[in-house]
Structures are given as structure tokens and as C-alpha cells.
Assembly symmetry: C2
Homo-oligomer: 555 residues x 2
């Protein structure tokens, strides 16, 4: 038995918030049978990933060991946990286990990608368990900002692990199961080796607030509104959507759900029986016939996404509906760091339309879905594990969470993506570092983050692009003059002459004097011409552009 070990290896989600993917393994070193917990995406931005559609963890390590992968378990249906299941299905192939609501969402992704839906298997909540090689895994209900979030109870020959998933301690969550302290105690009772734990809100000093706390303020706000009311939140926050819809309903307004994700989430929650008494909704078409003061729109796009309903309503119309002076727009959401510009853009566009915008700057209309610092302490005490392994956090969150665990007298370890831990002993041991990274879905192609593709895009965006074309005849003599095209560069520079003309003149001067050795050597010629373009451009426009040199030879 001592030759077998229990390992933990985050491939994504540890050292970042996003693209969660955590591997557990049990067996002889190098021969462990594996399970994967969560398989999510993260979202691109112009600063680092222009043009990219989605980002997920580089799962090469797992793909090479796909024959040892017993199963995939998804804790909940947020995109950063479930978003990559269809993208990776061909590479991994293992069955995907999830609770009903999560499975519903995962199946739709599989269906859209043309994969078999039956690869996704529905599991009931604890005490049901799934056998997966040496692992026995159960879904322990926990409150979060989406229905049926679950912690995983992972039983292994080396002991029990509790993988928290994303969670908060909410005893009145509006939709779904409240946090059940007694049930958690029961699970913890046999002894827990490791608590692998959400770190998102480790810097938030006060106990977390319940989802039910926002109801009264939202209800009051909607009651007092005189024009159309629009509210945006994450579509997956079904409890919040329900609170918003009920506030509208109570104020005598017809509820309209706008945005694909909004309709899909409510559909999934209804199909799985989670949502039973949602107010009747009307379609956008029906809404057009109703007085605006009788409408309550609940829409996607709380993060300022350009194509979502919020952004479209702010710019103009969405499905025929247009906002006007005196309407009210509520952000029942927190802006995720990095999305501020997009959200503020929408706020100002709404302001230009005369719409009153209410956001959550005073904490009235939104609560977080993650456990705050005192809640984490409470869960550490409740689960009472031998060791705490912080996950779901940037480096600073993981580091702080380790400190918190240690302050509570428990072994903690900071394991970022790629850190393989052996959990078999009394304290976690780092046994390996695995190369990890990010894979980009770019259009329909998967590219590696380090392939240079995105780097080149960023360079073109920062520096512009010059294309040089030169034709050489059979004797390696220039045939005519070189030709320049530019993209993303000003037309004229310091000399007031056209930039293209200046560059062509400088290149021509060079070609006329170039020796045969250079003219015969594509690499040399290209390098020399690139240098000339960059130097001349620096003088003319104060900028060194990217340069592509196309040499055509007549022979």
C-alpha cells in the first residue's frame, strides 16, 4: 500500500480566477488512476488575448494520460467550471458527472458541439456516490450564486477529501438548498484529510450576506419606478432572477427575459424542477404592446459584454424595445475587475438616453456568491481537515488563504497550476511541477498561448504593419522599385511626404547599392529591408512597425 499515493494537480484555477480544472489521482507513482474536477473557461481581453474567443486550461498532461482518466466531475454550471466540457470531450472522452441542473447545461453544450449527450450523467445529491476507479465521489449541496452548486466528497484509499467548489454559507438562498451545517458536520465526522477550498473572497473581512437580503431593496426600488424597469444580473443567478421577477410582478409589471443565456438558464432551472413558481413571462413582441410602466425587463450583459442585451439596449434597440427618459436600469451585480470600462460605457450611453442607472455601489442590490474570510474560517473549523489547499483564486488569494489556514493551526500549502502535491502523508508534499498553460479557442482553431499568434496580433495593434514587396529578375537584380503597403499607420510623418513614398525611396536607395550576396540571399535581403523600414519609420513617425517582406524571384 505504501507504494501508492494520492495526488492533487491543478491544471487551471489555482493562481487565477477562471478556467478551473483540478486533477486528483490515486495509485502507484506514474500509474495513478485519475479524476478531473471541473473543466471551465476564462474570457479573453484586448490587452492580452485580442481576437481570441475562449480560453481554457492546457490539458496536454491529462490528454496524454486519458486512458487513466476515470471520470470528470462538474461542481456547478458556471462557465469557469463547465465551459470547456464540449471543447475537450474528444481529447479526454471520460464520462461527465454532475447534478441535474449542471448536467442540463453541460448536455446543451455537448449537443451544440455534436457530441453525445449521454456522456453527461446526472447524479443526485449526497448521500448518492459515484465510483470512479479508486475514487468514490458524492455531491454535497452548498449554496452559491447558481442552483445546485456542490462540494465534492472524494473518498480515496488514503482518506476523504472535500473539494469545496464555489460556495457561500447561505441559509436563505431564495432558490435551491440552504447551507446545511448538520450535513457538512456529518460528512466531516469520519475525518477529512484535505479541504480543497474556494479562496475568492479571502480578503473580504465581514461574514457574507444572504441572497435573500437583496429582495426588499429591489422590491422597493421597482415599486417606486415610474417608467420601464430593466435589471441585469448573471443569467445563471437564478435566485436573483427570481427575486427581480417577483419584484416586477408584485409591482404589477409583466416580466420579460432578454438574452439567450437568460432564457436558457430559466429554462434549465424549470426543466430540472428547481424553479417552480416563477412569475409568468411575456415575450419581447408582446411587451411592445404593453405600456412601459407595466414592464420589467431582466436582461443579460451585467459585465458590459458588447453583444449582450444590456449593451444593445444602451446603444439602441433590442428586439424592438427602446429605453427612454425616465426609465430605470438596475445593475444587480458586481463588476468583475477588468470589465469596468465596458460597464461604464453602458452607464453613460443609458445616461445619454435619460435613463436613471442604479448600481450596487452601496451594496443594496447584490451579494457575492463566495464565502468571505470569517465564513472560510467557519468552514475550516467545521470540516476540520488535516490540511487546507486553497484553490479558485489568484496568487494573492491563495497565499492569504494559506495564512488563514495556518493561523487556524492547519497545514496549508500554496499550490498554483502545475504543482503536483502528494497528499498521502500527514502534510502535503510537492512532488512534481507539470508544464501547464492556456489554450485559446480562436475562431474554430485551438492554439497554444505561446504559439506567437496572439503576440503578433498585439504587435500589429501596437506598432502597425508595413508590407514590402520586391521582385528580383533572373539575375537577382530588382525588377522595378520596391513597393510598400501599410496598415494601421499614419499616412504622413515628419517630412510631410507620404510615409509609403519615404519608405519606398529609402528601400530603393538601398537596393540600388546592395551587393550581389545580399540580393541573392532571401534572409539577408529580408532582414536588411526590415531594418530600413523600421529605422525610416522611426524617423518619420516615431514608431517601429512590424514588417513583412515579400520577395518574388523570377527564376
Amino acid at each position: 500500500m505504501s507504494s501508492e499515493r494520492l495526488i492533487y494537480l491543478p491544471l487551471g484555477g489555482a493562481g487565477e480566477i477562471g478556467m478551473n480544472a483540478y486533477v486528483y489521482g490515486y495509485g502507484a507513482p506514474g500509474k495513478e488512476r485519475l479524476i478531473l474536477v471541473d473543466l471551465g473557461v476564462t474570457f479573453p481581453d484586448m490587452d492580452t488575448t485580442p481576437g481570441v474567443d475562449l480560453i481554457y486550461a492546457d490539458i496536454s498532461w491529462l490528454k496524454e494520460r486519458a486512458d487513466r482518466l476515470e471520470a470528470i466531475f462538474i461542481t456547478h454550471a458556471h462557465e469557469d467550471h463547465v465551459g470547456a466540457v464540449a471543447l475537450c470531450h474528444e481529447m479526454l472522452g471520460a464520462p461527465i458527472h454532475a447534478r441535474a441542473f449542471t448536467a442540463n447545461i453541460a448536455r446543451k453544450k455537448m449537443e451544440e458541439a455534436g457530441h453525445p449527450e449521454d456522456a453527461v450523467r446526472t447524479v443526485s445529491a449526497w448521500p448518492e456516490q459515484v465510483k470512479a476507479g479508486p475514487f468514490t465521489v458524492g455531491f454535497l449541496p452548498v449554496s452559491h450564486s447558481i442552483p445546485e452548486s456542490a462540494a465534492l466528497v472524494i473518498d480515496t484509499p488514503a482518506g476523504r477529501i472535500v473539494h469545496s467548489g464555489d460556495f457561500k454559507l447561505d441559509t436563505t438562498p431564495v432558490v435551491g438548498e440552504p447551507f446545511d451545517e448538520a450535513l457538512w458536520s456529518e460528512v466531516a465526522k469520519p475525518g477529512v484529510k484535505a479541504l480543497v477550498c474556494d479562496s475568492t473572497n479571502v480578503f473580504s473581512p465581514h461574514p457574507g450576506r444572504s441572497e435573500s437580503e437583496v429582495g426588499p431593496a429591489i422590491t422597493q426600488l421597482v415599486e417606486q419606478a415610474s417608467g420601464m424597469v430593466v435589471a441585469t444580473t448573471f443569467a445563471s443567478n437564478v435566485a436573483r432572477v427570481k427575486t427581480l421577477a417577483e419584484a416586477g410582478h408584485r409591482a404589477g409589471r409583466s416580466v420579460v427575459l432578454l438574452g439567450r443565456a437568460m432564457r436558457r438558464m430559466i429554462e434549465a432551472a424549470t426543466e430540472t424542477g428547481i424553479l417552480t413558481d416563477f412569475p409568468r413571462v411575456v415575450s419581447a413582441e408582446e411587451a411592445l404592446d404593453l405600456p412601459r410602466q407595466n414592464l420589467m425587463l431582466i436582461v443579460t450583459g451585467s459585465q458590459g459584454e458588447r453583444r449582450a442585451a444590456s449593451a444593445q439596449l444602451a446603444r439602441g434597440k433590442y428586439r424592438g424595445i427602446e429605453l427612454k427618459e425616465g426609465d430605470l436600469f438596475l445593475f444587480s451585480s458586481k463588476t468583475i475587475p477588468g470589465n469596468e470600462r465596458g460597464v461604464i460605457r453602458i452607464m453613460n450611453q443609458l445616461s445619454e438616453k435619460g435613463v436613471d442607472v442604479v448600481d450596487d455601489s452601496n451594496g443594496l442590490y447584490h451579494v457575492s456568491g463566495h464565502a468571505n474570510r470569517p465564513d472560510l474560517e467557519r468552514v475550516h473549523a467545521l470540516v476540520d481537515p488535516q490540511m487546507v489547499i486553497p484553490m479558485h483564486g489568484e496568487h494573492r488569494h491563495l497565499r492569504e488563504h494559506v495564512k488563514l489556514a495556518e493561523a487556524g493551526g492547519r497545514a496549508g500549502v500554496l499550490a498554483v497550476n502545475g504543482t503536483m502535491l502528494d497528499l498521502s502523508g500527514n502534510a502535503p508534499q510537492v512532488v512534481d511541477y507539470v508544464e501547464t498553460g492556456r489554450t485559446y479557442l480562436d475562431g474554430s482553431v485551438k492554439i497554444g498561448a505561446l504559439d506567437g499568434v496572439v503576440r503578433d496580433r498585439i504587435r500589429m495593434a501596437l506598432n502597425g504593419h508595413v508590407i514590402v514587396t520586391v521582385i528580383l529578375d533572373e539575375d537577382d537584380e530588382p525588377l522595378g522599385e520596391p513597393w510598400c503597403d501599410t496598415m494601421g499607420l499614419p499616412e504622413t510623418g515628419a517630412s510631410r511626404a507620404g510615409l509609403v513614398e519615404v519608405l519606398e525611396e529609402d528601400l530603393n536607395q538601398f537596393l540600388m547599392r546592395a551587393d550581389v550576396k545580399t540580393l541573392r540571399d532571401d534572409d539577408k535581403l529580408e532582414e536588411a529591408m526590415r531594418r530600413i523600414v523600421r529605422q525610416s519609420a522611426q524617423i518619420e513617425i516615431g514608431k517601429k512597425p512590424e514588417v513583412t517582406v515579400v520577395i518574388s524571384r523570377m527564376k
Copy 2:
């Protein structure tokens, strides 16, 4: 007299926070003599302005009327108020008036750009006044987050205007003049036609806090630190820099100023006599010989700027100094919306080094430099103007500020950039809309925001770039096959063949079948080839790239 009028025209700063530029005019319509208040910049970002160095207001309107421009007045030395003085000097030429500290900063900009420093003239505080055509302008001291901020008292034949500049109501500002209610009352006494007023913090519901309030918390934090202490704040916040330095000094630490802006601001404050008892500083070189627990670094880069001292210290060394486990890094600053990613990147890099990061999430170590909502109400009442014209704010801020003014029984008007107001009567009248916009400093070239240069860069960043080269012989027949180069695109797509090869093959197929009419017409040929590349790429990689087609003809 009734044929003369008093006009107000914001060219920048109204409908955004940044690049302030406000025109006032007096005279017969179309012949008004003009003054300009502030001439600032705003900063580019990857989302909208990749590769751009600085952004400032399009001053074409003013340039065309430069002969009528009497003078430029700069309220304070923040970059969004003074940053474009040197960039625009040749176009405008008018003398620049400012108080000593601001003039010091403006002169350095002029000097660096090779402009005459004596174009900048130092003015003492109120009651000194400057005559500028029909205007008489005085600098009324007011507290802000930089020394010698001033409101302008602008006397015109049509009455007195108070242009607030950026301000807060701070009676204990640590450095510089406290807010002097009596002096403001005195200025208001003769009656004020219009208060043109900072709107930045109109959504902040509580009275603003004094700069002096952060001293005790900072002092305590530094006293308790055991390793090196690094603090970052805006270099121009001389009071804060002093508070930080004194906290270090009191804790027995030698103070080191790192970053060009940090040294320049302290130098300017010392040269102008504003800063008299700043603790002795040591150089980075001297610091290397001192124990780390005896050091207090005050550094630039509180907004996560990649090239500033903070970012360099987070990545590695800065001037030989390196942070280590147990050091403390304080953000004595607020992150401006849009800069979150950069700041968080630094926090995580510091976390990786084992440095404890303290930010202002609990409001202990930073206060704002702008008047909050109750402060604005107080100033409205104190100045008691006929009308309030909100400036220095996004659309939503201006709109809210108008509401606030109206709630106080005063005429308010929402005038965004380009809105020309006639202030001569009892209420402001919109008399014209002037075309405004943004000018980009891009390398050494000034380009218009709508020139398409930046749009092309964004497109290349999102879509990649394909370059197609084709040579046609004397008979308009293709000479050899077409040639493709790509930049910012994956090498292979759906067919598993090289993307370039697929594109070349498709282009060749097309060329072999193309009719003479197409082959003879550059525009037609280019358009057809562009379409083929975009279609083929869409099939191969799910993306339609930007395409440059270079056609070379042998005739």
C-alpha cells in the same frame, strides 16, 4: 452691448474624465475674444487606442480662431489639465498662465518640447488678476490632491464666472492652502453668474475626507512593518508623498524616491517653496547599502503602469533594489476604473515574491481629491451662482450634477464637449454644436481619432492579417502562383493542411479561371482575392482576417 455675448464651449472634459479643455468667449457672435482653461491629456488603452501614446482634445475649432485666443489658464498640474500644453503650443501660441507649482511643471514640458519657457507666466493667488482681452482672471486657491490647485474667478462684462477646477473641501490638506470658506464667500459676494463645476464624485454620498486623515493609519502600518516598506501613490500628490515619507522617517527608515515623476514632483514642490520640511532622502544606490528594515521606498506606478517603478519592482529589480519575502507594499491610492488588471497583475507578482500587499479596500490609506455630493451642495450654496454648469465628468456625472443643481433651485445645464452655451442671459442657452473629437499622439505623429489608423490596428489584432502577392505579366496573365503571408493567424486549420497552402491553392484556382476583365482591373482583382481569402479562412479557421492584396504588373 446686447449684441455681445458670453460663451462657454468645452472641447474636452465634459462627457469624460480626462483631457480637459474649456473655452470661454466674450464679444459679438463669431468675433468673441477667447480664453482657454486647461489643456490636458487622457491615456490610451488596448481596447480602443492600441499603440497610441497620448490623447488630447481636438482643438481644430480653437486653432482656426487662434488669433482671437487671448490666453490659456491652467488650474493645476495634473496631466489631464496640463499635459497637452507643449503639444498644442505651436497651434495656439497664446501665453499660458498658472500658479508657481503648475507653471514649474508646464515649463518643463515646454522645455522638453523645445518651446520657449517664457510662454508660461506665473501668477500669484487671488486677489492677483490677469487681464486677457475682455476677461480678468484670478486664481482662487482650493484644496485638491496636488499643490496649488485653483478655481478661476473669471470676470467678464456679462458677470463673474467661477470655474472650480478640480477641488475638494479640505481644511487640513497637509501641504498647501486649506479650503478657505471666508475667501470663497468674499469672491461670491458680488454675485456669480455661473459656477462651472467639477462633477467627479457626484455619486459619492458622504462628505469628503481630509488628506490629514490617512496619516495615523499610514504611520501605524509603517511602524509595524518588519521588512522593507514600499508605498505607491500619484507622484503629484505631494501631501501624500510627504505623509508617507514622514511615516517612514518616524519609523527610523531612510526615504527613497523612485520613478522619474516622483523625483520631478518633489523637486517642483521644493523649488516653488511649497514643500519645506520634507525628510532627507537617500538615493537608490545609497539604499543598497542599508538594511532593508531601515528603508521606506516611495514609488510611481500606483495605476499599474507597466514601465513605472511599481511594475518593475514587482517583476524583478528596479535600480538594483529587489523585494523579498516579508516586505510590505502599500497602495496608498485608488485604482482608476480600467486600470484594475494592471494593478492586480502587480499585486500577484508581489505575492509571488512573498511580499505583503496592502491596498485601500477599507479606505484607511487613501482619500479622494474631489468634492463629494454634500461638498458640491455646500459649494453651490456658498458660491450661490445663477447657474451651475457641470464639467469634469462622464455623461452620467454631468447629468446627476445637473439634477443636484436643480434640486437646489439653480439652473443647471448638461453641456458635453462641443456644446456652445450663451451665458449672457439669466439661464444658459445652447447656441451651437461644434465638431469635437480626440487627437492621438502616435509616436511623433498627431492623428485624428477617426482617421482609421487605430481602427485598422484593432482589426488586425482581432482578425489577423493575410498578405496576398500576385504578379501579372505583360498580357495580364498570372506569372507563377499567388503567394500568401500571414501574421497573427494559426498555421493550420480544419483541413490539417497549412493555412497558407490552402489559401494559395484557392487563390490559384480562382486565377486560373478568372476572366480577362477581372485580371486587367486591379480593384476587381483585389476585391475578388480578398473575398476568397476571407471565405477560405472562415472555413479553415473560423475567422475572417484582414487582407492586403499586392498586385504587381510586369508592364
